[in-house]
Subunit: 110 residues, 2 copies
DNA sequence: GTTTATTATCGTAATAATACGATAAAGAAC
DNA sequence: GTTCTTTATCGTATTATTACGATAATAAAC
């Protein structure tokens, strides 16, 4: 019965929530770190570092990709994933904006 | 069979992921905004603003509380919830640190 | 003490996320 | 063309999240 109620919220809230969700698993944070250290962003290097099965890593990569935090090109037996700086910066600044807004709003609550 | 593999990751990754997860739902972002605007942080005011049932809002409040993003005191028929600035700042700075680290690590990947 | 107002918790149902083995797909190496 | 290597997808099982009605709990108001 619990249908998604996401449509009831503000667009920016849903957008920020989606970006945060994309990073809300340690594996996906670790994947971003790993990708940032590699000159060649091949999935195999990620699989070697992340302590999860290949299928699971691929799934996490897909989640990051669909959130726009990484972009990837599939070229036969090698696919190269890269950090998508535009959206990483956007996530960072959206969260910063939220915190700033919270501070500005703040009344004497507590 | 999928037992949690969280223990396989770095402590900081798990910690950041938990904070991000706490904010990865629009309702919980909206709750923080609402609380920031109120001089009296009573749950009822939140329930009136968030378009979800009272039980659901209470559940989201619990999630925010257990992540440490808000703190609350239950005093009979009124409970007052407040933003927990220490941890909100920590979330913000942990994410900023991550982005900075990603930037510093960056090789010529893509 | 009884009623009222407010919030938390319980029970439950539906949906989403997590995890992995097995298999498919696709180009490289032979 | 066959084999090998690498990555994606499928199927499936488990667990977590989301959502809400109903009920309990708690203190104030009467």
């Amino acid at each position: 019965m619990p249908k998604s109620k996401l449509y009831l919220f503000k667009k920016t809230e849903v957008q920020l929530a989606n970006l945060l969700k994309a990073l809300s698993h340690p594996a996906r944070i670790a994947i971003l770190s790993t990708l940032s250290k590699r000159t060649e962003c091949v999935c195999g290097e990620v699989v070697n570092v992340i302590p999860l099965a290949q299928a699971t890593v691929s799934q996490h990569l897909k989640a990051l990709k669909s959130a726009g935090l990484i972009s990837g090109e599939f070229e036969g037996p090698k696919s190269s994933y890269c950090l998508n700086w535009k959206n990483i910066e956007e996530l960072s600044s959206m969260l910063e904006d939220l915190v700033t807004t919270l501070k500005n709003n703040q009344q004497r609550c507590c």
